[in-house]
Symmetry: C2
Subunit: 335 residues, 2 copies
């Protein structure tokens, strides 16, 4: 009863170096909850981390993972408002690839009665990213025209729902694959192929950019005056789940910083968002976690595929390959 | 009757090269109004322009000036809603230092009955800057803590009024002069000396930065996570109304661009605003002009000093010296 399993990233940058290991539980801190995990969510940052491309990762070996759902099995002595047996979801600052997680109470939210625990795990990182990118940083208005460059993925699904619920009427969803255009359309956005986008004369007020590198500057050129771009990642560095050395070198050569003078001349803004950096800022994240779980928005994450903990490498390969159209999860009940 | 006076900038970069000249009127365009000017507003951009530091200035000789108030004396044949004898204010894309101005109707607004025409001329550029910086770019919320670095000037006066009317509770107003602290306090902000600011542990959600250069980066370091900075100028390059060569060289050496990676790591945003670039974008400016004249905000510009057209050089020296605490105007009735 004193043992639990977790997935450790043994050596980033090399493949096949994720292992399922057994560890012993420590005693629970007074302001923490102990959660028996049902689902852990995978994120693109994990793919980057596995490739050694994530500077904020702890020294290896470490346990990745930012989002879980499960059942409360122990309660720190300072905890109020949550009970043994409650089903909860939690944002984790690493450590989420684990059969049991200890989480500070402020990062934990009770799962609303009508939610399933797979959806709850799939909600945290994408939901926080939506709320922070559109609600808190860009402060989107319903009159804004918006372009999302990751429209076919897990974040794209929630982003489109979030924006439609804000009353936004025009959402362009980019994809590089013709096969994903129908999914984007069904989600409520207007699909557009990447190559069409730059050739079009579409102008938007808000861009959500997850590709990074050169695309930041090209996307900014598609903004209306008073427009804003939110940069959330650098997915371009990865190709088919493998580190693309050509892309990395190309991207590094192309990393252009942004000149404040250019921003003035074009009346543009650029935001950076790294949700993980905010996991140690309760004041900032509390409101967004409440928005997700408290019903301000009614978001329904799309789950693409569920793997067992033993299949973690396959699961990360699958996510990194860019073929998924929603969240990829680990189901700890399958261990 | 066919003649009018205007002030021309003969040769930027040299002093004493502003002349009052007489020109002939052309016939009025169908969508323009002809305005007999009472007041022209001076702006810091004019000081920069006189020093040859404003890349967007037209080739010399040209007539500067972005804001006027006066009486309609002729109406283009397509104009509706304004009449001969109406008192109006107008934003001008250059040409405002003039006894008579022709302006496209969309840039012109009738002066509300209880306004004086000196206040109207003083309203345009500062008012648009407020509304665009805080209302449209930063999209300020009343829970935001805000720092304004030009709190004692004309823009500072309107900014503080605008923010207080939005319900903002915490406004820090920077100044480099101890003597201006009382004015800032009376306007409703908390005054702070520049040197105290960086040594303090104050963190804010929104910065309005008019100093430019190195201060952009230092001010950004004072932002909370999810904070935003709006860059509107580079006043640091000018010292006591003269071009400070030391400052210009220092600033050029220090022009640091902004790394999107840094913005991500800090969850910050940076906007650039150049109101003058928007004078050719009716769609963008119309709403802000309506906000100023239509009563969404009730702003009361502070007028510091009024000069005659013959005193234009003295007036620009006075503005550039940084001792004014409000708008500097030219009164064309004093010609």
């Amino acid at each position: 009863m004193n043992k639990f399993q977790q997935i450790e990233l043994v050596r980033p940058g090399k493949f096949n170096k994720l292992s399922l290991v057994e560890n012993s539980l420590n005693s629970l801190a007074a302001d923490h909850l102990r959660i028996k995990v049902q689902f852990s969510g995978l994120n693109f940052a994990d793919v980057m981390m596995r490739l050694g491309l994530y500077p904020d990762a702890p020294p290896a070996p470490f346990c990745p993972g930012y989002e879980i759902s499960g059942e409360v099995i122990e309660i720190g002595k300072n905890i109020k408002g949550l009970q043994l047996g409650d089903f909860v979801m939690a944002g984790m600052h690493f450590g989420g690839y684990s059969s049991i997680c200890d989480a500070p109470a402020w990062q934990v939210r009770k799962i609303p009665a009508h939610w399933k625990s797979d959806k709850a795990a799939a909600m945290i990182v994408s939901g926080l990213t939506c709320d922070l990118a559109f609600g808190e940083l860009a402060r989107v208005r319903n009159s804004d025209r918006i372009m999302i460059d990751c429209a076919s993925g897990a974040l794209g699904a929630l982003s489109i729902q979030y924006l439609l619920q804000l009353g936004v009427k025009e959402i362009i969803g980019l994809t590089s694959r013709e096969s994903k255009m129908d999914i984007i359309r069904e989600r409520g956005a207007r699909p557009m192929l990447l190559k069409e986008w730059y050739e079009s004369s579409e102008k938007v007020d808000v861009v959500l950019n997850s590709r990074g590198g050169e695309s930041l500057h090209r996307d900014r050129s598609m903004l209306n005056p008073l427009g804003r771009l939110v940069a959330i990642g650098a997915s371009h560095m990865v190709k088919k789940g493998r580190l693309s050395f050509t892309n990395v070198i190309k991207e590094f050569l192309k990393i252009k910083k942004v000149s404040p003078i250019d921003l003035m001349n074009e009346n543009h803004g650029i935001f950076g968002l790294n949700v993980l950096k905010l996991f140690q800022q309760p004041k900032v994240l509390t409101k967004s976690l409440d928005n997700l779980s408290g019903g301000k928005f009614s978001l329904n994450p799309h789950i693409d595929k569920v793997f067992s903990p033993h299949q973690i490498e396959e699961a990360l390969d699958y996510l990194g390959a860019g073929r998924s159209c929603g969240k990829v999860l680990i189901d700890w009940r399958k261990i």
